[in-house]
Protein backbone atom coordinates (compact mmCIF):
# COMPACT_ATOMS: atom_id res chain seq x y z
CA UNK A 1 0.00 0.00 0.00
CA UNK A 2 2.68 2.42 1.07
CA UNK A 3 4.69 1.52 -1.99
CA UNK A 4 1.67 2.23 -4.12
CA UNK A 5 1.29 5.63 -2.59
CA UNK A 6 4.91 6.28 -3.21
CA UNK A 7 4.75 5.17 -6.79
CA UNK A 8 1.80 7.40 -7.24
CA UNK A 9 3.54 10.34 -5.62
CA UNK A 10 6.57 10.01 -7.83
CA UNK A 11 4.58 9.83 -11.02
CA UNK A 12 5.43 12.67 -13.38
CA UNK A 13 1.87 13.93 -13.35
CA UNK A 14 1.85 14.22 -9.59
CA UNK A 15 2.17 17.99 -9.58
CA UNK A 16 -0.81 18.21 -11.85
CA UNK A 17 -2.79 15.98 -9.53
CA UNK A 18 -1.86 18.16 -6.59
CA UNK A 19 -3.22 21.07 -8.55
CA UNK A 20 -6.52 19.36 -9.16
CA UNK A 21 -6.74 18.35 -5.53
CA UNK A 22 -6.10 21.89 -4.37
CA UNK A 23 -8.69 23.18 -6.80
CA UNK A 24 -11.28 20.87 -5.31
CA UNK A 25 -10.23 21.92 -1.83
CA UNK A 26 -10.67 25.54 -2.80
CA UNK A 27 -14.13 24.92 -4.22
CA UNK A 28 -15.11 23.05 -1.09
CA UNK A 29 -13.85 25.86 1.12
CA UNK A 30 -15.84 28.34 -0.94
CA UNK A 31 -18.91 26.18 -0.63
CA UNK A 32 -18.53 26.08 3.13
CA UNK A 33 -18.04 29.81 3.43
CA UNK A 34 -20.57 31.22 0.99
CA UNK A 35 -24.09 30.00 0.43
CA UNK A 36 -24.89 29.33 -3.20
CA UNK A 37 -21.24 28.90 -4.08
CA UNK A 38 -21.31 25.19 -4.64
CA UNK A 39 -24.02 25.19 -7.24
CA UNK A 40 -23.52 23.53 -10.57
CA UNK A 41 -24.07 26.77 -12.39
CA UNK A 42 -21.22 28.47 -10.53
CA UNK A 43 -18.92 25.76 -11.78
CA UNK A 44 -20.32 26.08 -15.28
CA UNK A 45 -19.89 29.83 -15.06
CA UNK A 46 -16.22 29.22 -14.42
CA UNK A 47 -16.10 27.54 -17.80
CA UNK A 48 -18.30 30.07 -19.56
CA UNK A 49 -16.45 33.10 -18.25
CA UNK A 50 -13.02 31.65 -18.81
CA UNK A 51 -13.54 29.91 -22.12
CA UNK A 52 -11.48 32.47 -23.97
CA UNK A 53 -8.72 32.26 -21.36
CA UNK A 54 -8.68 28.50 -21.65
CA UNK A 55 -8.30 28.72 -25.41
CA UNK A 56 -5.40 31.14 -25.05
CA UNK A 57 -3.85 29.01 -22.35
CA UNK A 58 -3.96 26.01 -24.66
CA UNK A 59 -1.95 27.85 -27.29
CA UNK A 60 0.32 29.20 -24.58
CA UNK A 61 0.89 25.69 -23.23
CA UNK A 62 2.43 24.63 -26.50
CA UNK A 63 4.60 27.71 -26.55
CA UNK A 64 5.77 27.27 -22.98
CA UNK A 65 6.29 23.54 -23.41
CA UNK A 66 8.64 24.36 -26.26
CA UNK A 67 10.57 26.67 -23.95
CA UNK A 68 9.23 29.88 -25.47
CA UNK A 69 6.79 32.54 -24.43
CA UNK A 70 4.12 34.50 -26.25
CA UNK A 71 3.16 37.88 -24.84
CA UNK A 72 1.15 38.93 -27.87
CA UNK A 73 -1.89 36.74 -27.23
CA UNK A 74 -3.98 39.28 -25.34
CA UNK A 75 -3.49 41.87 -28.02
CA UNK A 76 -4.12 39.43 -30.83
CA UNK A 77 -7.36 38.58 -29.07
CA UNK A 78 -8.31 42.25 -29.01
CA UNK A 79 -7.30 42.64 -32.63
CA UNK A 80 -9.45 39.67 -33.56
CA UNK A 81 -12.49 41.16 -31.85
CA UNK A 82 -11.80 44.47 -33.51
CA UNK A 83 -11.39 43.08 -37.00
CA UNK A 84 -14.44 40.88 -36.62
CA UNK A 85 -16.57 43.76 -35.45
CA UNK A 86 -15.31 46.04 -38.15
CA UNK A 87 -15.74 43.51 -40.95
CA UNK A 88 -19.24 42.72 -39.78
CA UNK A 89 -20.34 46.30 -39.40
CA UNK A 90 -18.51 48.23 -42.06
CA UNK A 91 -17.66 45.64 -44.66
CA UNK A 92 -20.77 43.51 -44.15
CA UNK A 93 -18.94 40.25 -44.56
CA UNK A 94 -20.83 37.09 -43.78
CA UNK A 95 -20.04 35.99 -40.23
CA UNK A 96 -18.51 32.65 -41.18
CA UNK A 97 -16.14 34.34 -43.58
CA UNK A 98 -15.23 36.81 -40.86
CA UNK A 99 -14.41 34.06 -38.41
CA UNK A 100 -12.34 32.15 -40.96
CA UNK A 101 -10.51 35.29 -41.96
CA UNK A 102 -9.71 36.26 -38.39
CA UNK A 103 -8.45 32.79 -37.57
CA UNK A 104 -6.17 32.74 -40.58
CA UNK A 105 -4.92 36.18 -39.73
CA UNK A 106 -4.15 35.16 -36.15
CA UNK A 107 -2.26 32.12 -37.35
CA UNK A 108 -0.28 34.21 -39.80
CA UNK A 109 0.52 36.76 -37.14
CA UNK A 110 1.81 34.01 -34.89
CA UNK A 111 3.69 32.33 -37.69
CA UNK A 112 5.42 35.59 -38.53
CA UNK A 113 6.53 35.92 -34.93
CA UNK A 114 7.70 32.33 -34.92
CA UNK A 115 9.67 32.88 -38.09
CA UNK A 116 11.37 35.94 -36.61
CA UNK A 117 12.20 33.98 -33.48
CA UNK A 118 13.58 30.99 -35.26
CA UNK A 119 15.19 32.27 -38.41
CA UNK A 120 16.69 35.41 -36.98
CA UNK A 121 17.45 33.88 -33.59
CA UNK A 122 15.59 36.67 -31.81
CA UNK A 123 14.35 36.23 -28.27
CA UNK A 124 10.74 35.15 -28.06
CA UNK A 125 10.12 37.59 -25.24
CA UNK A 126 11.04 40.66 -27.24
CA UNK A 127 9.48 39.57 -30.49
CA UNK A 128 6.16 38.81 -28.89
CA UNK A 129 6.34 41.92 -26.73
CA UNK A 130 6.70 43.99 -29.87
CA UNK A 131 3.95 41.86 -31.36
CA UNK A 132 1.80 42.79 -28.39
CA UNK A 133 2.29 46.49 -29.03
CA UNK A 134 1.75 46.01 -32.73
CA UNK A 135 -1.52 44.10 -32.45
CA UNK A 136 -2.94 46.56 -29.96
CA UNK A 137 -1.73 49.46 -32.03
CA UNK A 138 -3.47 48.01 -35.07
CA UNK A 139 -6.72 47.94 -33.11
CA UNK A 140 -6.54 51.68 -32.62
CA UNK A 141 -5.84 52.17 -36.29
CA UNK A 142 -9.17 50.55 -37.00
CA UNK A 143 -10.99 52.52 -34.34
CA UNK A 144 -10.27 53.77 -30.89
CA UNK A 145 -13.86 53.27 -29.87
CA UNK A 146 -15.49 49.98 -29.23
CA UNK A 147 -17.61 48.62 -32.05
CA UNK A 148 -20.78 46.77 -31.21
CA UNK A 149 -21.49 43.53 -33.01
CA UNK A 150 -25.08 42.98 -34.06
CA UNK A 151 -24.63 40.08 -36.41
CA UNK A 152 -27.35 37.49 -35.77
CA UNK A 153 -24.96 34.54 -35.72
CA UNK A 154 -22.72 36.19 -33.15
CA UNK A 155 -25.71 37.24 -31.10
CA UNK A 156 -27.08 33.71 -31.25
CA UNK A 157 -23.77 32.26 -30.18
CA UNK A 158 -23.69 34.77 -27.37
CA UNK A 159 -27.11 34.04 -26.03
CA UNK A 160 -27.53 30.35 -26.64
CA UNK A 161 -27.55 28.36 -23.45
CA UNK A 162 -26.83 24.69 -23.82
CA UNK A 163 -28.73 22.76 -21.19
CA UNK A 164 -26.54 20.39 -19.28
CA UNK A 165 -27.30 18.52 -16.07
CA UNK A 166 -29.80 21.12 -15.05
CA UNK A 167 -27.47 24.03 -15.63
CA UNK A 168 -26.30 25.55 -18.87
CA UNK A 169 -23.05 26.28 -20.61
CA UNK A 170 -22.30 28.51 -23.56
CA UNK A 171 -21.24 27.37 -27.02
CA UNK A 172 -17.96 29.17 -26.38
CA UNK A 173 -17.23 26.99 -23.37
CA UNK A 174 -18.03 23.92 -25.40
CA UNK A 175 -15.69 25.01 -28.18
CA UNK A 176 -12.93 25.58 -25.63
CA UNK A 177 -13.40 22.13 -24.13
CA UNK A 178 -13.39 20.47 -27.53
CA UNK A 179 -10.23 22.36 -28.38
CA UNK A 180 -8.68 21.18 -25.14
CA UNK A 181 -9.45 17.60 -26.12
CA UNK A 182 -7.89 18.09 -29.53
CA UNK A 183 -4.86 19.75 -27.99
CA UNK A 184 -4.31 16.92 -25.53
CA UNK A 185 -4.50 14.50 -28.41
CA UNK A 186 -2.08 16.60 -30.46
CA UNK A 187 0.38 16.91 -27.62
CA UNK A 188 0.34 13.25 -26.85
CA UNK A 189 -0.36 11.38 -30.04
CA UNK A 190 1.07 13.41 -32.88
CA UNK A 191 4.62 13.93 -34.04
CA UNK A 192 4.11 17.67 -33.79
CA UNK A 193 3.20 17.47 -30.13
CA UNK A 194 6.14 15.32 -29.26
CA UNK A 195 8.47 17.60 -31.20
CA UNK A 196 7.21 20.45 -29.02
CA UNK A 197 8.24 18.55 -25.91
CA UNK A 198 11.57 17.61 -27.44
CA UNK A 199 12.36 21.21 -28.33
CA UNK A 200 11.45 22.27 -24.82
CA UNK A 201 13.67 19.57 -23.36
CA UNK A 202 16.68 20.56 -25.35
CA UNK A 203 16.39 22.49 -28.56
CA UNK A 204 19.89 21.74 -29.70
CA UNK A 205 19.44 18.03 -29.13
CA UNK A 206 16.14 18.09 -30.95
CA UNK A 207 17.93 19.65 -33.88
CA UNK A 208 20.68 17.05 -33.73
CA UNK A 209 18.14 14.26 -33.55
CA UNK A 210 16.90 15.43 -36.90
CA UNK A 211 13.62 17.01 -35.88
CA UNK A 212 12.36 19.85 -38.01
CA UNK A 213 12.90 22.40 -35.26
CA UNK A 214 12.35 25.46 -37.40
CA UNK A 215 9.11 24.28 -38.89
CA UNK A 216 7.83 23.14 -35.53
CA UNK A 217 8.62 26.43 -33.85
CA UNK A 218 6.90 28.44 -36.53
CA UNK A 219 3.93 26.12 -36.19
CA UNK A 220 3.88 26.51 -32.42
CA UNK A 221 3.64 30.28 -32.61
CA UNK A 222 1.16 30.01 -35.45
CA UNK A 223 -0.93 27.75 -33.26
CA UNK A 224 -0.69 30.20 -30.41
CA UNK A 225 -1.76 33.01 -32.73
CA UNK A 226 -4.59 30.86 -34.00
CA UNK A 227 -5.72 30.12 -30.45
CA UNK A 228 -5.53 33.80 -29.59
CA UNK A 229 -7.65 34.63 -32.62
CA UNK A 230 -10.11 31.90 -31.73
CA UNK A 231 -10.20 33.26 -28.21
CA UNK A 232 -10.93 36.60 -29.84
CA UNK A 233 -13.86 35.09 -31.67
CA UNK A 234 -15.15 33.54 -28.43
CA UNK A 235 -14.61 36.86 -26.75
CA UNK A 236 -16.70 38.57 -29.41
CA UNK A 237 -19.41 35.99 -28.80
CA UNK A 238 -19.10 36.78 -25.14
CA UNK A 239 -18.97 40.55 -25.33
CA UNK A 240 -20.54 41.23 -28.71
CA UNK A 241 -18.10 44.00 -29.32
CA UNK A 242 -14.69 44.73 -30.75
CA UNK A 243 -12.46 46.95 -28.69
CA UNK A 244 -8.78 47.80 -28.57
CA UNK A 245 -8.69 47.65 -24.80
CA UNK A 246 -10.23 44.20 -24.53
CA UNK A 247 -8.40 41.56 -22.53
CA UNK A 248 -5.54 43.67 -21.31
CA UNK A 249 -3.06 41.65 -19.32
CA UNK A 250 -4.59 38.38 -20.47
CA UNK A 251 -1.20 37.14 -21.58
CA UNK A 252 -0.05 37.16 -17.99
CA UNK A 253 -3.18 35.34 -16.84
CA UNK A 254 -2.61 32.72 -19.49
CA UNK A 255 1.02 32.26 -18.53
CA UNK A 256 0.07 32.08 -14.88
CA UNK A 257 -2.63 29.53 -15.62
CA UNK A 258 -0.26 27.34 -17.57
CA UNK A 259 2.46 27.54 -14.96
CA UNK A 260 0.07 26.95 -12.07
CA UNK A 261 -1.24 23.98 -13.99
CA UNK A 262 2.16 22.40 -13.48
CA UNK A 263 4.02 23.29 -16.65
CA UNK A 264 7.60 24.45 -16.30
CA UNK A 265 8.28 27.81 -17.81
CA UNK A 266 11.69 26.58 -18.91
CA UNK A 267 9.96 24.12 -21.18
CA UNK A 268 9.70 20.41 -21.70
CA UNK A 269 7.67 19.40 -18.67
CA UNK A 270 3.95 19.62 -18.13
CA UNK A 271 0.56 18.59 -19.40
CA UNK A 272 -1.97 20.29 -21.60
CA UNK A 273 -4.73 19.45 -19.15
CA UNK A 274 -2.88 21.57 -16.63
CA UNK A 275 -4.06 24.60 -18.57
CA UNK A 276 -7.62 23.75 -17.60
CA UNK A 277 -6.87 23.39 -13.91
CA UNK A 278 -4.80 26.55 -13.97
CA UNK A 279 -7.58 28.52 -15.62
CA UNK A 280 -10.15 27.11 -13.23
CA UNK A 281 -7.99 28.04 -10.26
CA UNK A 282 -7.65 31.64 -11.38
CA UNK A 283 -11.37 31.69 -12.04
CA UNK A 284 -12.19 30.21 -8.66
CA UNK A 285 -10.06 32.79 -6.89
CA UNK A 286 -12.02 35.52 -8.65
CA UNK A 287 -15.33 33.90 -7.90
CA UNK A 288 -14.42 33.51 -4.24
CA UNK A 289 -13.67 37.19 -4.07
CA UNK A 290 -16.86 38.15 -5.87
CA UNK A 291 -18.89 35.98 -3.51
CA UNK A 292 -17.21 37.48 -0.52
CA UNK A 293 -18.09 40.92 -1.78
CA UNK A 294 -16.58 42.83 1.09
CA UNK A 295 -13.10 43.34 -0.26
CA UNK A 296 -12.00 46.72 -1.43
CA UNK A 297 -10.00 47.05 -4.61
CA UNK A 298 -6.69 46.74 -2.82
CA UNK A 299 -7.74 43.92 -0.57
CA UNK A 300 -8.85 42.13 -3.70
CA UNK A 301 -5.30 42.33 -5.02
CA UNK A 302 -3.76 41.33 -1.74
CA UNK A 303 -6.08 38.38 -1.37
CA UNK A 304 -5.45 37.23 -4.94
CA UNK A 305 -1.72 37.42 -4.24
CA UNK A 306 -2.17 35.61 -0.96
CA UNK A 307 -4.23 32.81 -2.46
CA UNK A 308 -1.71 32.42 -5.27
CA UNK A 309 1.01 32.25 -2.68
CA UNK A 310 -0.72 29.64 -0.54
CA UNK A 311 -1.54 27.68 -3.63
CA UNK A 312 1.95 27.69 -5.11
CA UNK A 313 3.61 26.91 -1.81
CA UNK A 314 1.33 24.01 -0.99
CA UNK A 315 1.75 22.65 -4.51
CA UNK A 316 5.49 22.97 -4.23
CA UNK A 317 5.78 21.47 -0.75
CA UNK A 318 3.64 18.51 -1.69
CA UNK A 319 5.78 17.87 -4.73
CA UNK A 320 9.00 18.13 -2.74
CA UNK A 321 7.56 15.86 -0.07
CA UNK A 322 6.62 13.32 -2.69
CA UNK A 323 10.11 13.38 -4.17
CA UNK A 324 11.76 12.83 -0.83
CA UNK A 325 9.48 9.96 -0.13
CA UNK A 326 10.04 8.04 -3.27
Amino acid sequence: MMAQVRGFASAPYFTSLVTVFLLLAMLAAGGAAYPGFLSLQVVFNLLIDNAFLLVIAIGMSFVILSGGIDLSVGSVLALATMISAWLLRSAHWPPVAVIAFVLVLGALFGAAQGALIHYFKLQAFIVTLAGMFLARGLCYLISIESITIEDPLFVAMSQTQLELLGGFISPGALIALVLLGLAIYAAHYTAFGRAVYAIGGNEQSAQMMGLAVGRTKVLIYALSGLCAALAGVLFSFYMLSGYGLHAQGTELDAIAAVVIGGTLLSGGYGYLAGALSGVLILGTIQTLIAFDGTLSSWWTKIVIGGLLFVFCVVQRLMSIGAKNNQ
Binding site: N45, D49, Q159, Y243, S297
Partner: protein, 295 residues
Protein backbone atom coordinates in the same frame (compact mmCIF):
# COMPACT_ATOMS: atom_id res chain seq x y z
CA UNK B 1 -37.25 42.66 7.09
CA UNK B 2 -34.11 41.51 5.36
CA UNK B 3 -31.68 44.26 4.35
CA UNK B 4 -31.42 45.12 0.71
CA UNK B 5 -28.51 43.38 -1.03
CA UNK B 6 -26.77 45.23 -3.83
CA UNK B 7 -24.04 43.73 -5.95
CA UNK B 8 -21.77 46.50 -7.17
CA UNK B 9 -19.08 45.95 -9.77
CA UNK B 10 -16.55 48.75 -9.84
CA UNK B 11 -14.14 49.38 -12.73
CA UNK B 12 -11.07 49.35 -10.53
CA UNK B 13 -8.96 51.72 -8.51
CA UNK B 14 -7.09 53.37 -11.32
CA UNK B 15 -7.49 56.96 -10.15
CA UNK B 16 -8.33 59.12 -7.18
CA UNK B 17 -11.64 59.88 -8.77
CA UNK B 18 -12.48 56.21 -8.91
CA UNK B 19 -11.46 55.64 -5.32
CA UNK B 20 -13.66 58.50 -4.21
CA UNK B 21 -16.48 56.97 -6.22
CA UNK B 22 -16.01 53.63 -4.49
CA UNK B 23 -15.85 55.27 -1.08
CA UNK B 24 -19.04 57.18 -1.76
CA UNK B 25 -20.93 54.03 -2.73
CA UNK B 26 -19.65 52.13 0.30
CA UNK B 27 -20.43 54.89 2.74
CA UNK B 28 -23.88 55.43 1.33
CA UNK B 29 -24.59 51.71 1.55
CA UNK B 30 -23.55 51.65 5.17
CA UNK B 31 -25.70 54.65 5.98
CA UNK B 32 -28.69 53.17 4.18
CA UNK B 33 -28.26 49.83 5.92
CA UNK B 34 -27.73 48.07 2.63
CA UNK B 35 -25.61 44.94 2.32
CA UNK B 36 -23.13 45.76 -0.41
CA UNK B 37 -21.40 43.05 -2.40
CA UNK B 38 -18.45 44.85 -3.89
CA UNK B 39 -16.29 43.48 -6.70
CA UNK B 40 -13.32 45.19 -8.26
CA UNK B 41 -12.82 44.45 -11.96
CA UNK B 42 -9.30 45.80 -12.28
CA UNK B 43 -10.18 47.70 -15.41
CA UNK B 44 -11.32 44.63 -17.30
CA UNK B 45 -14.73 44.10 -18.78
CA UNK B 46 -14.53 40.33 -18.61
CA UNK B 47 -14.00 40.57 -14.87
CA UNK B 48 -17.12 42.70 -14.58
CA UNK B 49 -19.10 40.14 -16.50
CA UNK B 50 -17.80 37.44 -14.19
CA UNK B 51 -18.72 39.49 -11.15
CA UNK B 52 -22.21 40.10 -12.46
CA UNK B 53 -22.65 36.40 -13.12
CA UNK B 54 -21.65 35.62 -9.57
CA UNK B 55 -24.08 38.27 -8.31
CA UNK B 56 -26.79 36.51 -10.24
CA UNK B 57 -25.73 33.21 -8.74
CA UNK B 58 -25.94 34.78 -5.31
CA UNK B 59 -29.40 36.16 -6.07
CA UNK B 60 -28.69 39.72 -4.94
CA UNK B 61 -31.62 42.14 -5.00
CA UNK B 62 -30.09 44.70 -7.29
CA UNK B 63 -27.03 44.77 -9.51
CA UNK B 64 -25.22 48.04 -10.05
CA UNK B 65 -22.06 48.64 -11.99
CA UNK B 66 -19.88 51.23 -13.67
CA UNK B 67 -19.22 49.70 -17.06
CA UNK B 68 -15.63 49.62 -18.25
CA UNK B 69 -16.86 50.12 -21.81
CA UNK B 70 -20.20 50.79 -23.35
CA UNK B 71 -20.57 47.80 -25.61
CA UNK B 72 -20.80 44.13 -24.96
CA UNK B 73 -23.37 43.91 -22.17
CA UNK B 74 -26.31 42.30 -23.90
CA UNK B 75 -25.76 38.70 -22.90
CA UNK B 76 -25.04 39.06 -19.25
CA UNK B 77 -27.74 41.67 -18.72
CA UNK B 78 -30.20 39.31 -20.35
CA UNK B 79 -29.19 36.70 -17.82
CA UNK B 80 -29.79 39.21 -15.05
CA UNK B 81 -33.17 40.01 -16.48
CA UNK B 82 -34.02 36.33 -16.71
CA UNK B 83 -33.14 36.05 -13.03
CA UNK B 84 -35.38 39.07 -12.40
CA UNK B 85 -32.65 41.20 -10.92
CA UNK B 86 -32.90 44.88 -11.83
CA UNK B 87 -29.74 46.59 -13.02
CA UNK B 88 -28.68 50.17 -12.35
CA UNK B 89 -25.76 51.71 -14.18
CA UNK B 90 -23.53 54.28 -12.61
CA UNK B 91 -21.12 56.69 -14.16
CA UNK B 92 -21.31 55.49 -17.77
CA UNK B 93 -23.95 54.16 -20.08
CA UNK B 94 -24.08 50.95 -22.08
CA UNK B 95 -25.10 50.18 -25.64
CA UNK B 96 -27.68 47.47 -25.54
CA UNK B 97 -30.24 46.41 -28.10
CA UNK B 98 -32.98 46.25 -25.49
CA UNK B 99 -33.24 49.37 -23.32
CA UNK B 100 -35.23 47.53 -20.66
CA UNK B 101 -32.11 45.57 -19.73
CA UNK B 102 -31.27 48.27 -17.23
CA UNK B 103 -33.51 50.40 -15.10
CA UNK B 104 -31.60 53.59 -14.80
CA UNK B 105 -28.28 55.34 -15.35
CA UNK B 106 -26.89 57.57 -12.67
CA UNK B 107 -23.87 59.45 -13.85
CA UNK B 108 -22.02 62.09 -15.58
CA UNK B 109 -21.96 62.90 -19.22
CA UNK B 110 -18.36 62.93 -20.43
CA UNK B 111 -19.21 64.69 -23.67
CA UNK B 112 -20.92 67.41 -21.72
CA UNK B 113 -17.85 67.80 -19.54
CA UNK B 114 -15.76 68.27 -22.65
CA UNK B 115 -18.24 70.83 -23.87
CA UNK B 116 -18.11 72.71 -20.58
CA UNK B 117 -14.35 72.88 -20.79
CA UNK B 118 -14.66 74.11 -24.37
CA UNK B 119 -17.20 76.76 -23.46
CA UNK B 120 -15.03 78.11 -20.71
CA UNK B 121 -12.17 78.42 -23.17
CA UNK B 122 -14.31 80.14 -25.77
CA UNK B 123 -15.34 82.68 -23.14
CA UNK B 124 -11.74 83.14 -22.16
CA UNK B 125 -10.68 83.58 -25.79
CA UNK B 126 -13.18 86.36 -26.22
CA UNK B 127 -11.43 88.34 -23.50
CA UNK B 128 -7.93 87.46 -24.59
CA UNK B 129 -6.15 89.93 -26.82
CA UNK B 130 -4.04 87.29 -28.57
CA UNK B 131 -4.80 86.58 -32.21
CA UNK B 132 -4.65 82.82 -31.88
CA UNK B 133 -4.47 80.52 -28.90
CA UNK B 134 -2.38 77.42 -29.40
CA UNK B 135 -3.82 74.52 -27.46
CA UNK B 136 -2.11 71.34 -26.43
CA UNK B 137 -4.26 68.46 -25.31
CA UNK B 138 -3.40 65.70 -22.86
CA UNK B 139 -5.71 62.83 -23.62
CA UNK B 140 -6.72 60.04 -21.34
CA UNK B 141 -5.98 56.41 -22.05
CA UNK B 142 -6.37 55.74 -25.74
CA UNK B 143 -9.71 54.12 -26.42
CA UNK B 144 -11.25 54.76 -23.01
CA UNK B 145 -14.72 56.29 -22.96
CA UNK B 146 -13.88 59.46 -20.99
CA UNK B 147 -10.94 60.18 -23.27
CA UNK B 148 -13.00 59.81 -26.42
CA UNK B 149 -15.96 61.75 -25.13
CA UNK B 150 -14.08 64.58 -23.46
CA UNK B 151 -12.11 65.07 -26.63
CA UNK B 152 -15.27 65.02 -28.76
CA UNK B 153 -17.19 67.46 -26.54
CA UNK B 154 -14.30 69.89 -26.42
CA UNK B 155 -13.73 69.75 -30.15
CA UNK B 156 -17.39 70.28 -30.85
CA UNK B 157 -17.34 73.63 -29.06
CA UNK B 158 -14.04 75.05 -30.23
CA UNK B 159 -14.39 73.87 -33.82
CA UNK B 160 -16.12 76.99 -35.00
CA UNK B 161 -13.68 79.34 -33.36
CA UNK B 162 -10.81 80.33 -35.69
CA UNK B 163 -8.86 81.71 -32.77
CA UNK B 164 -8.49 78.33 -31.13
CA UNK B 165 -6.15 75.79 -32.59
CA UNK B 166 -5.11 72.42 -31.13
CA UNK B 167 -1.46 72.14 -32.06
CA UNK B 168 -0.59 68.92 -30.29
CA UNK B 169 -2.43 66.08 -28.74
CA UNK B 170 -0.98 63.05 -27.05
CA UNK B 171 -2.08 60.54 -24.47
CA UNK B 172 -1.00 60.94 -20.88
CA UNK B 173 -2.80 57.81 -19.70
CA UNK B 174 -4.66 59.80 -17.04
CA UNK B 175 -1.58 59.73 -14.78
CA UNK B 176 0.57 62.45 -13.26
CA UNK B 177 3.83 60.90 -14.37
CA UNK B 178 2.80 60.56 -18.00
CA UNK B 179 1.16 63.97 -18.00
CA UNK B 180 4.40 65.49 -16.86
CA UNK B 181 6.52 63.50 -19.29
CA UNK B 182 4.38 64.39 -22.29
CA UNK B 183 4.16 68.03 -21.30
CA UNK B 184 7.94 68.19 -21.05
CA UNK B 185 8.19 66.96 -24.61
CA UNK B 186 5.51 69.44 -25.78
CA UNK B 187 7.36 72.31 -24.17
CA UNK B 188 10.57 71.41 -25.90
CA UNK B 189 8.92 70.86 -29.25
CA UNK B 190 6.65 73.93 -29.22
CA UNK B 191 8.78 76.26 -27.20
CA UNK B 192 6.87 79.21 -25.84
CA UNK B 193 4.10 79.07 -28.39
CA UNK B 194 1.75 77.05 -26.19
CA UNK B 195 -1.05 79.19 -24.77
CA UNK B 196 -3.51 76.68 -23.44
CA UNK B 197 -3.38 73.22 -21.97
CA UNK B 198 -6.48 71.06 -21.97
CA UNK B 199 -6.06 67.96 -19.84
CA UNK B 200 -8.65 65.20 -19.72
CA UNK B 201 -8.21 64.86 -15.99
CA UNK B 202 -6.73 66.71 -13.05
CA UNK B 203 -3.91 64.27 -12.44
CA UNK B 204 -2.39 64.87 -15.85
CA UNK B 205 -2.86 68.60 -15.38
CA UNK B 206 -1.02 68.49 -12.06
CA UNK B 207 1.85 66.60 -13.65
CA UNK B 208 1.92 69.05 -16.53
CA UNK B 209 1.97 72.00 -14.13
CA UNK B 210 5.21 70.67 -12.68
CA UNK B 211 6.70 70.37 -16.15
CA UNK B 212 5.67 73.91 -16.97
CA UNK B 213 7.21 75.25 -13.79
CA UNK B 214 10.41 73.37 -14.40
CA UNK B 215 10.57 74.92 -17.85
CA UNK B 216 10.61 78.31 -16.14
CA UNK B 217 7.08 79.28 -17.18
CA UNK B 218 4.15 80.21 -14.98
CA UNK B 219 1.32 77.72 -15.16
CA UNK B 220 -2.03 79.45 -15.14
CA UNK B 221 -0.53 82.63 -16.53
CA UNK B 222 1.88 81.86 -19.34
CA UNK B 223 -0.13 78.80 -20.14
CA UNK B 224 -3.82 78.63 -19.38
CA UNK B 225 -4.77 75.27 -17.93
CA UNK B 226 -8.17 73.62 -18.17
CA UNK B 227 -8.87 70.23 -16.71
CA UNK B 228 -11.68 67.95 -15.70
CA UNK B 229 -12.71 66.08 -12.51
CA UNK B 230 -12.35 68.62 -9.73
CA UNK B 231 -10.32 66.59 -7.23
CA UNK B 232 -8.75 68.19 -4.18
CA UNK B 233 -5.34 68.49 -5.80
CA UNK B 234 -6.88 70.59 -8.54
CA UNK B 235 -8.33 72.96 -6.01
CA UNK B 236 -5.01 73.32 -4.28
CA UNK B 237 -3.44 74.13 -7.62
CA UNK B 238 -6.13 76.69 -8.35
CA UNK B 239 -5.63 78.34 -4.98
CA UNK B 240 -1.95 78.56 -5.78
CA UNK B 241 -2.91 80.14 -9.09
CA UNK B 242 -1.48 77.38 -11.18
CA UNK B 243 -4.66 76.00 -12.66
CA UNK B 244 -7.36 78.09 -14.27
CA UNK B 245 -10.40 75.94 -14.23
CA UNK B 246 -11.60 72.45 -13.52
CA UNK B 247 -14.85 70.99 -14.73
CA UNK B 248 -16.42 68.90 -12.06
CA UNK B 249 -17.16 65.29 -12.64
CA UNK B 250 -18.62 64.17 -9.40
CA UNK B 251 -17.82 60.74 -8.13
CA UNK B 252 -20.22 61.03 -5.23
CA UNK B 253 -22.97 58.92 -6.71
CA UNK B 254 -23.45 56.72 -3.68
CA UNK B 255 -26.45 58.34 -2.03
CA UNK B 256 -28.30 58.66 -5.32
CA UNK B 257 -27.59 55.03 -6.09
CA UNK B 258 -28.97 53.90 -2.75
CA UNK B 259 -32.09 55.99 -3.19
CA UNK B 260 -32.67 54.62 -6.64
CA UNK B 261 -32.08 51.07 -5.48
CA UNK B 262 -34.52 51.39 -2.63
CA UNK B 263 -37.10 52.85 -5.01
CA UNK B 264 -36.65 50.05 -7.52
CA UNK B 265 -36.95 47.47 -4.80
CA UNK B 266 -40.13 49.10 -3.58
CA UNK B 267 -41.49 48.83 -7.10
CA UNK B 268 -41.53 52.56 -7.77
CA UNK B 269 -40.73 53.88 -11.21
CA UNK B 270 -37.53 55.90 -11.46
CA UNK B 271 -36.23 58.05 -14.33
CA UNK B 272 -34.09 56.33 -16.93
CA UNK B 273 -31.38 58.95 -16.58
CA UNK B 274 -30.43 60.50 -13.26
CA UNK B 275 -28.02 63.35 -13.80
CA UNK B 276 -25.50 64.24 -11.17
CA UNK B 277 -25.14 67.85 -10.21
CA UNK B 278 -21.86 69.05 -11.53
CA UNK B 279 -20.31 72.47 -11.77
CA UNK B 280 -17.48 74.31 -13.39
CA UNK B 281 -14.98 75.72 -10.93
CA UNK B 282 -12.76 78.51 -12.12
CA UNK B 283 -9.79 79.53 -10.00
CA UNK B 284 -11.63 82.54 -8.58
CA UNK B 285 -14.05 80.40 -6.57
CA UNK B 286 -11.51 77.74 -5.62
CA UNK B 287 -10.59 79.04 -2.18
CA UNK B 288 -14.21 79.37 -1.22
CA UNK B 289 -15.13 75.96 -2.53
CA UNK B 290 -12.07 74.12 -1.20
CA UNK B 291 -13.41 73.36 2.31
CA UNK B 292 -16.49 71.74 0.74
CA UNK B 293 -14.52 69.22 -1.24
CA UNK B 294 -14.86 65.68 0.01
CA UNK B 295 -12.28 64.08 -2.24
Amino acid sequence: QKPLVIGFSQVGAESEWRTANTASVKDAAKKAGVTLKFADAQQRQENQVKAIRSFIAQRVDIIAFSPVVESGWDTVLREAKAAKIPVILTDRSVNVSDPTLFVSLIGSDFVEEGRKAGRWLVEYAKKSPAATLNIVELQGTVGSAPAIDRKAGFEEIIKGNPKLKVVRTQTGDFTRAKGKEVMEAFLKAQGKSINVLYAHNDDMAIGAIQAIEEAGLKPGKDIIIISIDGVKGAFEAMIAGKLNVTVECSPLLGPQLMEAAAAVKAGKAIPKRIVVNEGVFPAEVAAKEFPNRKY
